[in-house]
């Protein structure tokens, strides 16, 4: 129960502010293919090429990425759009310096062999670390009155039968469920993006204060990260090897099979549904959609606009 107490590297940050600009990047989850582009950029030396020194530090079950950002232990993190908007609304201005996801990956997988939508009042698992805003909106909007059960970082509640359904990322928990022997298909899986909730997810965020001080570093990091993702899309097998290296270093309970599937799914989610391209941009319409939904569901006190998310960029 204690477990997973990773060494805190916070103070290192300051001490390395030397010739090269330094940036600590913490993805929002443990090491996996979801962050392949950053590992690639790191391993392939794209960050170095860009003249920045990047350290990748993963969060722990007890210390989330956002915690690290707010403690200034990390400079940049990945975040889902909805999550970022929630944080901005709660008073911590964030700037999206790179948008990777162009599609929503969230699904509801039912434990029973039936459509999640038909299970009013069901116990549904949700991440304890603050994803799943859209699901809460949807539950409210569609009067499903789900009982949300927060879970830490695995699908055990689902497996044990403690929940009727669970939220899952199509690239991650979804495959874990399949790997646990569940047969998932259109009858028991609800994909948000197919029901009017196609809101972009992962993007790279920094606090506005950091951004104002280290614009160039942030820009370089974003550029190099984008290069990493593009390389990953072109070299999926090499990328997988890099991912597995990180997975092993971090002793993540996953395997190459899952990571390959995850990588493929994450890369495909980066393709804009309309243009079919890796656009690496926030779509204002999606920002508006997310903002409206969340506002409607009382998750936001104020509307969060595209400009707020990208404010400074817009001015430059």
């Amino acid at each position: 129960m204690k477990r997973l107490i990773l060494p805190l590297l916070l103070l290192w940050t300051a001490s390395f502010a030397g010739a090269q600009e330094r940036l600590v990047f913490t993805p929002q989850w443990t090491a996996q293919a979801q962050f392949a582009g950053y590992y690639v950029a790191q391993e392939m030396g794209f960050y170095k090429d860009a003249g920045i020194e990047v350290e990748i530090v993963h969060p722990t079950a007890t210390l989330s990425a956002m915690n690290r950002i707010s403690r200034n232990e990390s400079n940049a993190t990945t975040m889902q759009l909805c999550q970022a908007m929630e944080i901005i609304d709660s008073g911590t201005p964030l700037v999206n310096i790179l948008q990777t996801s162009m599609n929503n990956a969230m699904v509801i997988a039912s434990r029973r062999n039936m459509d999640p939508l038909s299970q009013k009042g069901a116990r549904v698992g949700i991440w304890s670390v603050g994803f799943g805003q859209l699901a809460i909106c949807m539950s409210v909007k569609d009067n499903l009155d789900y009982e949300w059960v927060r879970f830490a970082n695995n699908v055990n509640l689902f497996i044990k039968g403690a929940v009727d359904a669970t939220l899952a990322m199509s690239y991650n928990e979804y495959y874990q469920l399949v790997q646990a022997g569940y047969q998932l298909d259109s009858t028991n899986v609800y994909r948000f993006r197919d029901h009017g909730y196609n809101v972009q997810e992962d993007g790279v965020y920094v606090t506005r204060s950091y951004y104002m001080k280290h614009k160039e570093t942030a820009r370089k990091f974003a550029e190099a990260s984008r290069r990493g993702w593009e390389w990953a899309a072109e070299h999926p097998e090499e990328t997988l090897a890099i991912v597995m290296k990180y997975v092993k270093e971090n002793r993540i309970a996953t395997n190459e099979v899952l990571q390959r599937l995850m990588l493929a799914d994450v890369l495909s989610l980066q393709l804009d549904r309309e243009s079919g391209k890796r656009e690496f941009r926030l779509r204002p319409d999606m920002v508006k959609l997310a903002s409206d939904l969340m506002f409607e569901c009382n998750m936001l006190d104020n509307e969060v606009t595209y400009e707020q998310l990208t404010e400074d960029q817009a001015h430059e």
Partner: protein
């Protein structure tokens, strides 16, 4: 392939040994197949029972320990509930569990947020044993929100105690060591029965892993343990531990067998499945671990279970194959050596077959079939030598017999008329005949001769063939000649022949005979048939001569034969044959037949063929029919064409006298006057006078013994300018002067009879005489050429 077949089929030993080995192979196959199927079953059952037993034992052991944890937790539960008023006591309870159960790693007694108002959001009394000491602390804080942890939430949500999925406790200080931990959690209920927290006890599963891994019924078998999500918690391949589930491979490549196994295990079933695991055919025995939701399985490679069996099978198969090959070779050798005498026998036989009869056969002392064969072969060889010797003698004898028979044949053929045409001076008759014996000598006969103006002829067939038939043929022929010398009635002649033949017919042979006497001046044919084929007649139309069948000669001594008669008109052709013609056979055993004979003869008649041409065309016909077939019977044919001489009368006078010798001068005067008219010279006149006087006196003296001088005799004189004919007619008793024996003029005085010269003189003086009895009259014709 064909060559192989030929190679095998050329030798009995190869064939036989191949068959034996083939049968042996089939029998071995069936027997071994049955044995192996049965032992396969037995091995399989043995494996199942062995693995199952081990699995059961293991599960039982593990369950004992797990139960211990459960009991320890249960025992603490009631203490907690009774002391909710004193939160700090929770620390001592959690500590006490560890003290009482050294195997346990830790124990949390955790409560819902803000349950103890004075303790804030987090209250979780946690003790853990680091191996040396037990540490106790409150573990909840903002970074460790224990109430989101599985161990806490699961029992809360399910409202029942249970085991968590095993998890890994990572000690950051000691990176290399990982420990699998599992928690047994139990909901803590308040007095009102509402949920207030969770008590959870940790146990390291290191021992479990060891216990399960130690289960190794076969050298290459291994054990696995799956969590409820299919994750491997025990697996010999540590890369799979925690990181992979049993379903992981199916994500990339569907594997229904593996999926089935995984699902069965996750459902908590107990059983066995055969499937390919990581590319190895295996038997997987699985069983759930108590109430944990975990499942234990033993994976036994099939090669392990059936390794011994397969080794045995391969060994036996190898031995059988080698054995069969040795058997093939051995049998081939044994049979070959057993048959060696046969081969040398075959060689010897070849030599013998080439004519070396004296080739010495190998001595064979065996008592089996081959020995017997050798013996009988030796016997055969001896017989062969003897036989060849005999054959040589026989051949020599036969050659001499053959040469004798050739002589006999010449004699026989020379006995029969063989000069054709036989009567070149005669214009009224043409005749041709032939006899071809089937063997050297034949039993057919034909004969003819002219006596006075009569043609005596006969054709006959002796029963049987060859020498015996030839003898009887000769006898018959002689008898015919003898009997017809002084007799012109065919039935009498036949009767004579029959009597004589019957006399000493011990061989019971018989002769069919057709005998005819043709009076050439009148065309009067008298004949008697003794069982012979009826002759054919052609005179503008073809018909068979009407013949009584009668019995053949030699059958019945006192047989009465009958003479039949008819008159041949000018231009008639008569064709006689033996059954060698009608019964001539071709290679298909088809007979030439009466129809063909009739048709052919009719054809000949239409074309007006001469007798010779008729016989030639019959020969041709028969040869064309028989072709290469051997002649089956003697073949005899005789054809006669009859055309009486024309007689243009220039003088015809008659005188009738009563039988008184006193009338003789009148006769002489009558004859004298005839001779005068014909201007014959005196010598001829004298001769004619004497001849006619003698003939008439003969009649006068003998013809009417009862009537004496009251009988009459008529003398008719006729001439056509070339010949002078006298016909002496009387109606007295039948008397054929021509049948009288010719007087012997060479006898001495003492032996010489007084009489008998009259007819002799008639015969001597006239050119020809001829007797006929027609209508109860004796008609004697005398002809003198002038």
């Amino acid at each position: 392939m064909n060559n192989l077949f030929r190679y095998i089929s050329r030798s009995i030993s190869r064939k036989l040994s191949l068959w034996i080995v083939l049968f042996a192979a089939i029998i071995f196959n069936i027997a071994l197949g049955f044995m192996f199927t049965q032992s396969l079953k037995a091995v399989r059952e043995e494996a199942i029972s062995r693995a199952t037993k081990e699995l059961d034992n293991t599960v039982l052991r593990v369950n004992n320990i797990l139960e211990m944890v459960e009991i320890a937790t249960d025992n603490t539960d009631w203490l907690v509930v009774r002391h909710l008023h004193a939160p700090d006591s929770m620390f001592s309870y959690s500590r006490a569990i560890l003290q009482n159960n050294p195997k346990l790693n830790g124990c949390s007694i955790a409560f819902e947020p803000y349950f103890f108002k004075d303790r804030g959001k987090y209250f979780s009394a946690y003790s853990y044993n680091d191996g040396e000491t037990i540490h106790t602390t409150q573990e909840g804080n903002d970074h460790y929100e224990y109430f989101y942890m599985d161990w806490y939430q699961t029992v809360k949500l399910l409202d029942r105690p249970g085991w968590s999925e095993p998890f890994v406790d990572v000690n950051p200080d000691v990176h290399t060591s990982t420990e699998i931990i599992a928690s047994y959690s139990k909901p803590i209920k308040g007095k009102d029965g509402s949920y207030i927290g969770t008590i959870a006890t940790d146990i390291s599963l290191g021992w479990l892993s060891e216990t399960i891994s130690a289960v190794k019924p076969y050298p290459n078998s291994y054990s696995i343990m799956l969590g409820e999500g299919g994750t491997f918690f025990v697996h010999p391949d540590t890369t799979k531990l925690f990181y992979q589930t049993i379903f992981t491979p199916t994500l990339e490549k569907p594997d229904p067998d593996l999926s089935d196994l995984g699902h069965a295990m996750l459902r908590g079933e107990d059983g066995m499945k055969e499937l390919e695991v990581d590319g190895v055919d295996s038997y997987v025995f699985y069983k759930p671990l108590g109430e944990t939701g975990w499942s234990v399985a033993i994976v036994c490679p099939e090669s392990d279970i059936f390794g011994g069996y397969n080794r045995l099978r391969h060994m036996v198969a190898f031995i059988v194959v080698i054995g069969l090959i040795l058997m093939l070779l051995a049998f081939s050798r044994i049979i070959s050596s057993e048959l060696k005498p046969l081969r040398s026998l075959a060689d010897q036989t070849d030599t013998i077959a080439r004519g070396n009869f004296s080739e010495v056969l190998p001595e064979e002392n065996r008592s089996d079939e081959i020995g017997r064969l050798s013996h009988s072969f030796a016997g055969m060889q001896k017989s062969l030598i003897r036989y060849v010797e005999e054959l040589k003698e026989t051949t020599a004898t036969k050659a001499s017999i053959e040469s004798e028979l050739k002589v006999a044949r010449d004699i026989q053929l020379s006995m029969l008329p063989h000069i054709f045409p036989p009567f070149p001076e005669r214009k009224d008759i043409d005749l041709y005949a032939s006899m071809i014996p089937a063997k050297e000598v034949g039993g057919d006969l034909f004969d003819f001769f002219l006596r006075d103006e009569k043609l005596y002829l006969c054709i006959g067939d002796v029963s049987g063939k060859g020498a015996p038939a030839a003898m009887l043929m000769a006898v018959t022929h002689s008898l015919f000649r003898a009997a017809s010398a002084h007799e012109s009635d065919p039935s009498v002649i036949v009767h004579h022949i029959n009597e004589t033949v019957c006399l000493d017919n011990t061989a019971n042979m018989f002769v069919t005979l057709f005998l005819g006497v043709l009076d050439l001046p009148s065309g009067h044919l008298r004949y008697c048939n003794a069982g012979h084929d009826c002759p054919l007649l052609y005179n503008g139309g073809m018909k068979a001569l009407d013949c009584l069948p009668n019995l053949p000669i030699g059958v019945l001594a006192d047989m009465k034969y009958t003479t039949q008669e008819c008159t041949l008109t000018a231009g008639t052709t008569l064709f006689m044959y033996t059954d060698g013609l009608t019964e001539a056979m071709n290679a298909d055993h088809e007979q030439f037949g009466q129809e063909r004979v009739d048709a052919l003869f009719a054809g000949c008649g239409e074309k007006g063929m001469t007798p010779r041409q008729i016989l030639d065309s019959f020969w041709e016909g028969v040869h064309g029919f028989v072709r290469d077939a051997e002649q089956s019977d003697d073949l005899t044919m005789l054809a006669i064409s009859y055309t009486p001489n024309p007689f243009a009368t220039v003088l015809s006078e008659t005188i009738t006298l009563n039988c008184d010798l006193a009338r003789v001068p009148e006769l002489n005067d009558f004859i004298f006057s005839i001779c005068e008219k014909l201007k014959l010279d005196p010598t001829v006149t004298g001769q004619v006078q004497l001849a006619v006087e003698e003939a008439v006196v003969n009649v006068m003296n003998y013809a009417y013994p009862d009537r004496g001088k009251r009988g009459f005799v008529t003398v008719k004189a006729m001439s056509d300018g070339h010949e002078l004919r006298f016909v002496v007619i009387d109606s007295g008793i039948p008397f054929d002067p021509t049948a009288k024996e010719k007087a012997d003029t060479t006898l001495s005085l003492e032996e010489r009879p007084i009489g008998g010269l009259g007819i002799y003189l008639v015969r001597e003086l006239m050119d020809s005489i001829n007797y006929e009895r027609v209508d109860n009259r004796n008609i004697l014709m005398m002809i003198k050429n002038i």
